[in-house]
Symmetry: C2
Subunit: 198 residues, 2 copies
DNA sequence: AAAAGTATTTGACGCGGTGTCAAGAATGTG
DNA sequence: CACATTCTTGACACCGCGTCAAATACTTTT
């Protein structure tokens, strides 16, 4: 059989960068094809559809991002872990120029915009899955904190609260683009969760 | 001059409903024209562009929504106000069937997807403006709370925190669609802000 | 080594969405 | 009654998505 003339992973990286910068709907396969030096039809042949290509590219990103969060949430005092977590998240939102925002949050809010297929549902699950995994990591860190006496409270609801604030930060980033304010809110949240002043 | 054959406000309402349900990009002017019993060209004549139509429709929604929040945040104990605020927000996200999510949050995350014009910037400002006004209402309520001894802390940062959580709830709504969980997070946030347990 | 088989590439097509334009239609005004 | 003004209507160019058949390049079989 005829060999492929492009690298599968290169295309995924290039595609995700475009999706990240311009949104899924805002990115055309022509854009990706041009950037990757590939014919548009070849992308359909290799991936099947725009959504399938996005999903493959997103999975790549998700596992990488989750890995980096796992690292920062895995060692140090609870306060240090949570601070590093928010730092990593904000850094992620503010990466690129102009900043690209949070791919997961942006993807989630783009759902239901596509009315046709059930592909939407696959994407929703992929996004929800990453959010759930991040919540799990936070819960683990908080549970460790309970054991060490750094935190008293329900790790499950606290993790949910933190992940909610994180999504909110991703939204505020789009609205105001003020990184200092994002950090202020993040610090306040850590203080609140850890019970500063008690 | 020839009189217009449709009602300006009717079209705005119909258009916003579509934008809300399917997103700005996911809604075509043909859809709106069909629904409103108007020719597509007439919409361009009356509003100029899809973005301008959206902005006009959004302003309508924004002032209405802001008014309802102003009401619930204006009377009662601080706890009652914040609880009612979250109730109103969640009810808003979950309105329609299927639920349509938060228009502001969805709109914000759709930005930058349109790469062409500076219209994006107008929309961003409209969204950011509503978020800022809501933050102002929250700050007022919290300041009242300080006066009455119901709250001790910085109203500004607390308001920012609450508005961030609210945006986060809008995102989680898309991810999980679990209203009970949203309410749980909202209640936890109120408890945290008001210093339950202290 | 030649032929058959297989997967990829390429270019053309249909469909639908955006935005523009000129021509037609309906009113107010002199 | 004619005129100007505004709205409406339908046609057009352009672009994005997804599909298809034909051409191409490599592997396997004989």
């Amino acid at each position: 059989m005829r060999p492929r003339e492009f690298d599968h992973d290169d295309v995924l990286r290039i595609a995700f960068d475009q999706f990240w910068r311009k949104g899924v709907r805002g990115t055309s396969l022509s854009d990706i094809a041009r950037d990757a030096g590939v014919q548009r039809g070849s992308l359909y042949n290799a991936f099947g559809s725009k959504e399938a290509l996005f999903l493959a590219a997103y999975e790549r990103y998700a596992s990488e991002y989750l890995g980096s969060l796992q690292e920062v949430l895995g060692s140090g005092s609870l306060r240090a872990r949570l601070t590093a977590y928010f730092d990593a998240a904000i850094k992620n939102f503010r990466s690129g120029s102009p900043p690209r925002g949070c791919p997961t949050t942006r993807g989630l809010m783009e759902l239901g915009a596509a009315e046709g297929e059930g592909l939407d549902e696959n994407a929703r699950q992929a996004f929800a899955d990453l959010v759930a995994r991040i919540t799990g990591l936070l819960k683990n860190a908080l549970s460790d904190g309970v054991k060490r006496g750094e935190f008293s409270g329900d790790p499950a609801i606290a993790a949910l609260h933190i992940v909610t604030v994180t999504r909110g930060l991703a939204v505020l980033e789009r609205a105001f683009g003020d990184e200092a304010e994002l950090r202020k809110i993040a610090k306040h949240t850590v203080d609140l969760v850890l019970g500063k002043g008690r």
